[in-house]
Symmetry: D2
Subunit: 367 residues, 4 copies
C-alpha cells in the first residue's frame, strides 16, 4: 500500500510521528466493539520498550505515557477509531544538530535525502526507533483481543552476538526478569558480559528475536499472496534493523531433506495434530494448528561511538564520531515490537478468515 | 489485502487457477502504456520454469503456452489490464484420486479443509506450484519495464542441500547453462550428485536462492510499513515452500557488531556510494543505491516417494506412499519465480516513489 | 484504488477486456466456499444484457457465452478465485477504422489519448459497454450468495426521456416482459413510441434506472468514508454513462424540510421499524432495516447517427456521421449492470460487517 | 476499504474522533515533501466550517484550533505523515443524556446500536458533523498542493429549500460575503427569510451544494471502477446528510437526447476543447479538460425542535422533543467540506495518473 504508514486490512493501524517533534501516535481502525480497554492496557506494553531501564538502553528519559483520544466509551471500544497519542518530552535536539550535515553509516539519512530532497535530521526523524511506540500501542490492543480468544503471543531474545539461549534451559519467567529478555538466565549473564565488552570497544551487537504464538485455529491466512507467513515476514521486516525472517526450521529447512522436514499428521484427543513442528505452524501459507514459531535477525545498532568514515551533504569525505544516547543492542527492546506486529497481523487474519465459508456466514447472520 | 490473489498497489496482479482445471492466468493492471509486448516476452520467462526439462523436474508434459487476451494493441500495452491465459493440458487427475481422502505431510491439504470445509484435492489445487505460472507471466512484463530503465533482476541457486556455490567461482553464464541454475559449474555438478542420491533414497532436497538487483535509484520504498525489504520479504515468502528471507548479511548481521556491519559512505564519480554492502542495498527500508541482494530459504519438496505416516479425513491414522510426478528439488524452478516477484515488487515501488516530492510532481505536469 | 480494474475489499473483482479483442472477463476473489455454482447461473444474468434482443438494442450478434475457468470444484465454489471468460465473436473492426483518426463527441476517445498517448480505437476499447459483461458475471455470483441469505436486488427502468413509470401501476412482472424493463406496461409502450421517434431523428434518449434491495440486516456499511450509500454511489457512477445517483428522496430531500423528511421509528412485530422510507434505507451511512432504494441517471447514447462537429487527431475541425451498431437507449441494458454492481457492493459490506462486534467474533470461533 | 476511516490510495487520510470526547483529528499520509505548510493554512479552512458564526449555525462555541503534531519540519512537509489534532472544548454532554435511551428520527442512533451493540450517544458520536473537521484539515493541505499546480476548487450553496441562486447573477465574491455561501446576494436574502420561517415552525431545510474545479489536465481518473466521477460521488456521499450526487447535467441528462447532450469538440488556441460542458468535465470517467462541475443534494437537518414520534431502546413507542444546539440548515457549513473532499480526491487522482505512460516514467527517472 502507498505512503507506508497504514497497515492491515480489517484491523488497520495508521502511525505518525518522529523522534523529535511533538510526539508519536497511532489510529487503530477496525477494532471490534465491546473490548474493555483503558490506558493501562496500552501502558503495560509501552513500558516494556521504554528507554532508560537498564545500562543496555539509551539514557533518554521518556515517560512514554499513552493518552487515548477516541474510540473508547464507558470503558469499552466502540468500533470507531482508537487514537492514541504519546507526547515526546526529553528531546535534546542540539545533540543532533551536527548530523544535519552528513550521512551516518548504517542509517537512512542518505536515503531520506535521496527520496524527499531533505529530511528531519533530528534523531533519525521518521526512521527513529521511537516510531515503534505506535506499533506497540496498537499491539497492546490486538493482543488483548487475541487473549480474549485464548491466543498468546510471546517473543524473547534468542541470541545476542555469539551467545544463544539454550532451549534445554528455556524458562519463560526469565523473559521478564532479566534486562535482555532471554528465557535462559545463564545465557543472559553471558550476553551481558559480551555487551559490556562491546561497549568498551565503542561497538554494538546484533541478535535474534524468536516469537511463539499458541492457540490459533487452523486455516488462518489466505492462499497465494496473503500467506500468513508472508504477512508476518512483511510485518517483522518492517521493523527497523530487522534483516532476516524465518519460520519453523527456516534456513535450516533449506539444508534438510523432505523426509526429515515433513511433519507427520496424527490423531490426538480426536483432533488432527502434527507429531513435529518443522513447519513452524504453517503449511501452504495457512496455519496448521501447531504453534507459530518464527525468528527475526536484528542488526547491531548502527550508532556506534567509534570513529567512522562517511560523506557530508556537500560531497566531502569526512570522519565522524556519533554522540547522543544509543542502545548497544536493539534486540531486547524490539521484543515487544515483534510481539505487537505479530498480534496485529494475526488478528487481521482472524477477522479475514471469518468470511471463508458460506455456511458459516449464513449461520452468522441467521442468529 | 483480503482474499489473497491480488498483489501490488499501482502495478497490480490478480492470479487465478489450479494444477488441475482449465488453466491458470493473471490479470496485470496498471502496466504503463506504451511498452512493446507480445507473447514471446512472456513465453521466455515461462519456459524457464516449465517442467520436464531435466531429470530433476517432474515429467509432467506441459507446453505452458501463454495467450495474451487483452491490454495490448498494435504491439504495445494500452494501459488497460493485460489478461494472460495458460491452459492446462497434461492432467492426469486420477493420479490424485487417492489424495482426496487423506492429508499429505508437508502439504496444505489439511489447512485447506480446515479453512474452506473441503478442497480441490487434485494436484494441490490452488497451492500447487503451477500457481506460480501466473506470477512469472507478470514478472516477465515487469522485468521488461525495469529493463527499459536499466534495471536488471538476476536470481540463481546459491545452494542445494549441503552444496553451496563458491562466490570465488561465480559465473553468471552458468546460471542458464546447468540444470540447477547455479552460477558455479563445479557446485552444480556436486549438487546433481547429491540430488541423485536423494532420489535413490526416495527423498528430496532443499536449498537457497539468491537474487541481485542492479540499477535501482536510491530512495525506493516507503518508511515504516512499506519498507522495500519488508515488501520483498512478503513477495518472496508468498512463494510456496519458502521458509526464510534475508537481505544483505541477513542472519549473519545478527552475529556481527556495528563497526563491522556498517557500510561507510564515500564519493565515487561525484556520487555518494558505499564502500561495502552488508546492508544488501537498503537502509531504513529505502534503497541506498547499492545492488539489492537477498536470499530465500526453500524447503525440500514435501512429496517424497518414501512411506510416510499421516491421517485420513475420517480421523484414521494411516501410512501412505505418494505417487505422481514430483521434482526432487524446488529451487531451480523457483529461480524465475523469485526474479518475477522481485520485479513486480520493485516496479510497484518505482511507480509509487514518483509522488514523493512536490517539485518533481509540479515539474511533471508542467511539461 | 489504483489502476482501476479491481473492485471490492473482501469480495473482490478484477475485470479485463475490450470491445474488440479476444474477449472480456473477470476474476472473482473472496467468494465464500461452498456456493453451488455453474455456468448457467452466470449465463442467466449475461443474457439479460445481451445485444440483439429487440429493435432498441444494437444488432451486434454475440453469444456472450460464459466459461468458468477456475474456482469451482464438483459444482461448488472452493474459496479460490473464480475466473470467467467470455470470448468476443462478432467483431466488425473495420466499422471503426475511421474512428481512429478523430474524437467522437460524448465518448472517451480524447481522454484516453490524453492519458495514455494512444488508444485502442476499436469500439471504444476499454470504455466500451462490453466491459460491463465482466461486472454482470460477478454480479450473478454475488446475487446468488445474497439470495441464499434472503436478500433480493431488483432494478428496472423508471423513466426514458420524458416518460416515467407510474408507481400506482407498478407491476414487477412487467420488468422481464417488456423490451424496456419498465414495471408499467403503459409507460413501456409510450417510451417505445418516444424511442422510435428519436431513432427517426437519428437521435438517442437517456433515462433513469431505479433499484430496490430487500432483506438486508440493519447496520451494514462503515461510518465515515465507507458509508453504504457512498459505496453504492461509486459502484453505480463507475458504470459508463451514469451521470447521477440519489438514494431515498435524493435531490427531492434537498427541497424538503426536516419534519417531512425524517422517518419516524415505530415497533412492528417486536422489531424497530420506520413508518416511512424517505431515507431510502440508510441513516448515517448504515443500513436502517428498510429497503434500500436508489436511482441512477443515465445519459443518452452518445453515438447518434446525426451529423456532429468534432476535431481529428491532427487538430483539424471536421464534421462526422458515426456508423456502426448502437443502442438508441442505454437504460434497459444497464438494468442488470446496476443490479450487479449493487449486489457485489452489498455482499462486500455484509462480509465486512461480520467483524464489528467482539462478542460475535469470539462466538464465531468458539463453535 | 474496511473499517471506513481511511480514504485514498496515494494521498491517504485517516480520521478519528467524535463530537464529545477529547477531540477529532486526521493523519495525512502521502503528502509530497516540500510543501510550505503551517497551522494557519489549515485554520483558514477550519474557520469556514466553525459553528457559532451566524444565526443559522449552532451556538456551540468551539475554537476548533488545529495543532500540527508531525510531518512538517522547518516550515515544509517532509513526506511523512502529517498528524493534525483539534481538541474539543465546549462539550455540554448532559444535553445529550436523554438521547441515550431512544433513537432520533433521521439520525444513525438505531443503526449504530444494530451494528456495534451499543453506541457513544453523546452528540451523535462518530456520525456527528464534527467528524468533518478532520476532512477539512486534510482538504486544506490537498487544496494547497493543487493550488501550486494552478488548480482551484470552489464550492457554494446553489439552493436552499425552494430558493435557488440565479446563474445570471452569479457573483463569486458573494460566496464569502453572505452567511449562506450563495453566489447571489438576492437569493441569499430570500433563503435567509425562508430559513427564519423554518425556524419559527421548529423545522429545518435542505439544499444543494455545487462545486467547480478548474485547471485540471485531461486524462485524470482510471477507466472502469476508478472513474473520476465515481470517486467524487463516493467522496461526496460519504459526507453525512448527502443524499444525491450529479455531475454536469446529471439527472437533467437523463431527460435529454444525444444530440443535445453531446459536447462538440473544437480547436482553441491550438488545443482540443469542448464547445459546451454538459458532461461536467468528464468523459468515460476521465477528465476531459473542461471544468469539473458537480452537485450534492443535502437533506434537511434531522434534529428539529418539533415533537416527533420514535421508539426507545426498550421497544416502547414514545414522542420526543430534541433539545441541544442544531443548525437549521446544513448546506452552508458543508460547502468547505465538499471542497475538501473534492480536493483530496483529485489530488489522489493526479498522483495516480503520473504512472500511466512508460515514456513519461522513463523520462522522470532519467533526470
Amino acid at each position: 500500500m502507498a505512503a507506508g504508514s497504514t497497515y492491515g486490512t480489517l484491523f488497520k493501524l495508521t502511525t505518525w510521528g518522529k523522534s523529535h517533534g511533538k510526539g508519536v501516535g497511532v489510529v487503530i481502525d477496525g477494532c471490534p466493539a465491546g473490548l474493555p480497554l483503558d490506558e493501562s492496557d496500552i501502558q503495560k506494553y509501552l513500558d516494556r520498550r521504554k528507554p532508560g531501564q537498564s545500562r543496555f538502553t539509551t539514557q533518554r528519559n521518556e515517560a512514554d505515557a499513552a493518552e487515548i483520544l477516541s474510540g473508547v466509551f464507558e470503558g469499552r471500544t466502540t468500533g470507531t477509531p482508537i487514537s492514541v497519542l504519546v507526547r515526546n518530552r526529553d528531546q535534546r535536539s542540539k545533540d543532533y544538530s551536527e548530523i544535519a550535515s552528513y550521512y551516518r553509516p548504517g542509517h537512512a539519512d542518505f536515503c531520506f535525502d535521496a527520496k524527499y530532497g531533505f529530511r528531519d535530521y533530528r534523531g533519525g526523524g521518521r526512521s527513529s526507533g521511537r516510531e515503534t511506540i505506535a506499533r506497540v500501542a496498537a499491539g497492546a490492543v490486538a493482543a488483548k483481543v487475541l487473549a480474549s480468544m485464548g491466543i498468546t503471543v510471546t517473543a524473547y531474545t534468542l541470541s545476542i552476538g555469539p551467545v544463544t539461549a539454550d532451549r534445554a534451559r528455556f524458562d519463560q519467567k526469565q523473559i521478564a526478569e532479566n534486562d535482555l529478555c532471554m528465557p535462559d538466565a545463564a545465557a543472559a549473564a553471558a550476553a551481558a558480559d559480551y555487551l559490556s565488552d562491546c561497549m568498551k570497544r565503542r561497538d554494538s551487537a546484533g541478535g535474534i528475536c524468536e516469537c511463539v504464538v499458541t492457540g490459533l485455529p487452523a486455516g488462518l491466512g489466505e492462499p497465494v499472496f496473503e500467506k500468513i507467513d508472508a504477512a508476518l515476514a512483511k510485518a517483522i521486516l518492517s521493523i527497523g534493523a530487522v534483516k532476516g525472517f524465518e519460520i519453523g526450521d527456516g534456513f535450516g529447512a533449506a539444508a534438510a531433506t523432505g523426509q526429515s522436514n515433513n511433519d507427520s499428521f496424527c490423531m490426538k484427543d480426536g483432533a488432527v495434530k502434527k507429531r513435529t513442528n518443522h513447519s513452524g505452524g504453517t503449511l501452504g501459507g495457512l496455519t496448521d494448528g501447531a504453534p507459530l514459531v518464527f525468528r527475526a535477525a536484528i542488526k547491531p545498532t548502527p550508532s556506534v561511538a567509534a570513529k567512522q568514515n562517511t560523506v557530508n551533504r556537500n560531497g566531502g569525505e569526512i570522519s565522524i564520531e556519533i554522540k547522543g544516547r544509543h542502545d548497544p543492542i536493539i534486540v531486547p527492546r524490539a521484543v515487544v515490537v515483534v510481539e505487537s506486529m505479530a498480534a496485529v497481523t494475526l488478528l487481521d487474519a482472524l477477522l479475514m478468515n471469518m468470511t471463508a465459508r458460506l455456511d458459516r456466514i449464513v449461520d452468522f447472520y441467521r442468529r
